[in-house]
């Protein structure tokens, strides 16, 4: 073992290459270009961009305040004044859908950020310490949380924390992080055999530095693919929790809350139900197309096809 690693440092990369560091913005740009070259990835990217624009510029895009009530024109069918009609308080549904993008985007990015950071860190630590007590403990932790049906655990956590946007993000992230952890751990097991990790060990780097600098950046591809699909799931679950009255609090314009109201008035004004349903479906399609594009773009085997 000892001779092996000395040999590798001798043969290893020339010093110049060792210092070479790719800027993360470059990586992002290259990946993005590869994704939009995939057929579906482009459409997914366009839809997601529209959602992002709506989320950021909701106050300029929406024709009226999402909570402005107009009791005189309650339950108005779609018309020139109200593109998508109005709901039971006379609120403009189009504006509420636009503002709903904000919550959807916040939840999607918030949960996957929390869950992937925690999950990847624990996964890498566990994989790096393979076979040790810490490894078994982390696997045990992952398996406990993965034992629960995800949305049911999220329900339980929201029940304890109380319904709010932040708590929904926390609850969903808590149920999702072991999945990133499993991926990260499996990847780490193969990456840590690589020469550059052995070289870093031989140079006397601390385990933490090796984990952060040498392993984590090299296991991100499958994690990123998972991120894309997970965002779609999180949007749906946020809507689901809000639909049950356990998510974002009314009068906040969440698609789930709009569905809940639509469900109540389904018989008289079906448009109250149809528009948020359409918004959720489009978001689902967009994120799955985009993540499919990511998968193809990041997988060298697929790219050759």
């Amino acid at each position: 073992m000892n001779t092996e690693s000395t040999q590798q440092t001798e043969v290893g990369c020339p010093p110049g290459q060792l210092m070479f560091k790719r800027k993360w913005t470059d990586t992002l740009r290259v990946t993005f270009r590869a994704v939009i070259k995939v057929k579906g990835g482009l459409w997914g990217g366009i839809f997601i961009s529209i959602m992002l624009i709506c989320a950021i510029g909701a106050q300029w895009i929406a024709p009226s305040d999402p909570n402005a009530q107009d009791i005189m024109s309650r339950f108005a069918a779609p018309s020139r004044d109200h593109f998508f009609g109005t709901d039971y308080l006379g609120r403009d549904i189009f504006s509420r859908i636009v503002y709903g993008c904000r919550i959807a985007v916040l939840v999607a990015f918030g949960t996957v950020t929390f869950s992937s950071v925690i999950g990847v860190f624990l996964g890498v630590v566990s994989g790096y310490n393979e076979g040790k007590k810490l490894d078994y403990f982390i696997i045990w932790l992952f398996d406990i949380i993965r034992s629960f049906p995800q949305i049911i655990l999220a329900l339980g956590i929201v029940a304890v924390l109380g319904p709010s946007l932040f708590n929904v993000v926390i609850a969903l992230a808590f149920t999702a992080f072991p999945f990133y952890g499993r991926i990260a751990r499996a990847q780490t097991l193969s990456v840590k055999q690589a020469d550059y990790v052995k070289a870093a060990e031989a140079m006397g780097l601390k385990p933490f530095q090796i984990i952060m600098r040498h392993i984590t950046p090299n296991i991100m591809a499958p994690v990123i693919v998972c991120l894309g699909m997970d965002m779609a799931t999180m949007i749906v679950w946020e809507s689901g929790l809000s639909f049950l009255g356990l998510g974002v609090r009314p009068p906040e314009a969440s698609w789930g809350i709009m569905l809940r109201n639509g469900y109540k008035y389904m018989q008289t004004s079906p448009w109250m139900l149809l528009w948020p349903a359409l918004a959720i479906s489009l978001a689902m399609i967009a994120f799955s197309l985009f993540s499919e594009g990511l998968r193809v773009a990041l997988d060298p085997k697929e790219r050759e096809r």
Partner: protein, 313 residues
């Protein structure tokens, strides 16, 4: 293989222990005081103290955890704070409805999905291929609870031909079946597309493999090759997916049951969350988790049986 199965089965024990600890921890963090919730305006200090003593709420945390674990092992999940019924009997009432719904939708979805995928793989350029693509896209795009809402709008409001609410009169199979159609469709539609796509992919791989070519060379009839030799290996990925999917199915059942107002496990959990009836929430989550763990165990073990090529350490 036997060693793998035993190892896999034994791993369930520490996992379930962790599940129980986590569930207990959730209740422990739960704001509010169960005793005053139970008693409402009648709460006097003496009554509160008595209930706290009966439910061991006045004891230290580890002692309460011990009582909880012992109770679960004995099958005692506590009593509902609101109705005073035993949690276990509430669950026993709700579970058959959920089981019927989940098994129907999963069973039908598996049969349709796998056959559709196999057809699409065998006749590569037929319209069935396009059909699979559309159904799987639909399954991705329309999550189960949105599907439930849309189906309800379509078949209960616009064209009222199917019943909207409830689980049907007990003992009347036709009525129960009528009440099952929409929820089962809503829950299963995503699975049809997913399983069809999965089976198509793996079937295409299998049909290209050497042993299929060899069987062709032996002049074994095409149908035998497709359905007996190829399909058997092509469904392997679906088995794991179905095992993992039971969790998603139970989660989806929560929404579908709420929407169609079926008195199942999911509705029980959500109603109890709203009522802050935490023993019932705890019991409901525990039962759902047990079912999920069991399904995964069965899937993993059957995986080992179906695919003897896989080597386990």
């Amino acid at each position: 293989m036997l060693k793998y199965i035993i190892k896999r089965a034994l791993w369930v024990i520490p996992t379930l222990l962790g599940v129980l600890i986590l569930l207990f921890g959730l209740t422990y963090l739960m704001p509010g005081d169960p005793a005053s919730a139970m008693l409402g305006p009648r709460a006097t200090p003496e009554l509160v103290a008595e209930i706290n003593q009966r439910m061991h709420l006045d004891r230290a945390m580890p002692v309460r955890l011990g009582y909880y674990l012992a109770g679960v092992v004995k099958g005692d999940l506590g009593t509902s704070v609101w109705s005073g019924h035993k949690v276990s009997s509430l669950l026993a009432e709700a579970l058959p409805h959920t089981a019927l719904l989940a098994l129907t939708s999963l069973g039908i979805a598996a049969v349709i999905g796998i056959l559709l995928g196999a057809f699409a793989a065998v006749r590569r350029n037929s319209p069935i291929g396009g059909c699979v693509t559309i159904v799987s896209l639909l399954g991705v795009a329309v999550p189960d609870f949105v599907a439930a809402l849309l189906l309800m709008l379509l078949f209960c409001v616009l064209v009222p031909i199917l019943p909207a609410l409830g689980a049907g009169t007990p003992g009347d199979p036709v009525d129960i079946l009528m009440h099952l159609i929409l929820p089962a469709t809503a829950l299963g539609i995503g699975w049809v597309g997913y399983l069809a796509r999965l089976t198509r992919e793996s079937m295409l791989d299998v049909l290209d493999s050497d042993y299929i070519r060899t069987s062709r060379a032996f002049a074994i009839p095409g149908k035998t090759i497709t359905y007996r030799y190829a399909l058997k290996n092509a469904v392997i990925p679906s088995i794991t997916v179905i095992g993992l999917g039971v969790g998603k199915l139970l989660g989806g059942a929560v929404f579908v049951e709420i929407i169609f107002s079926r008195p199942g496990l999911g509705k029980l959990i959500v109603d109890s969350v709203h009522a802050r009836d935490f023993p019932v929430v705890q019991g409901g989550i525990l039962v759902a988790t047990l079912l999920f763990v069991l399904a995964n165990l069965i899937a993993d073990i059957s995986y080992a049986f179906v695919d003897p090529r896989i080597q386990y350490e």
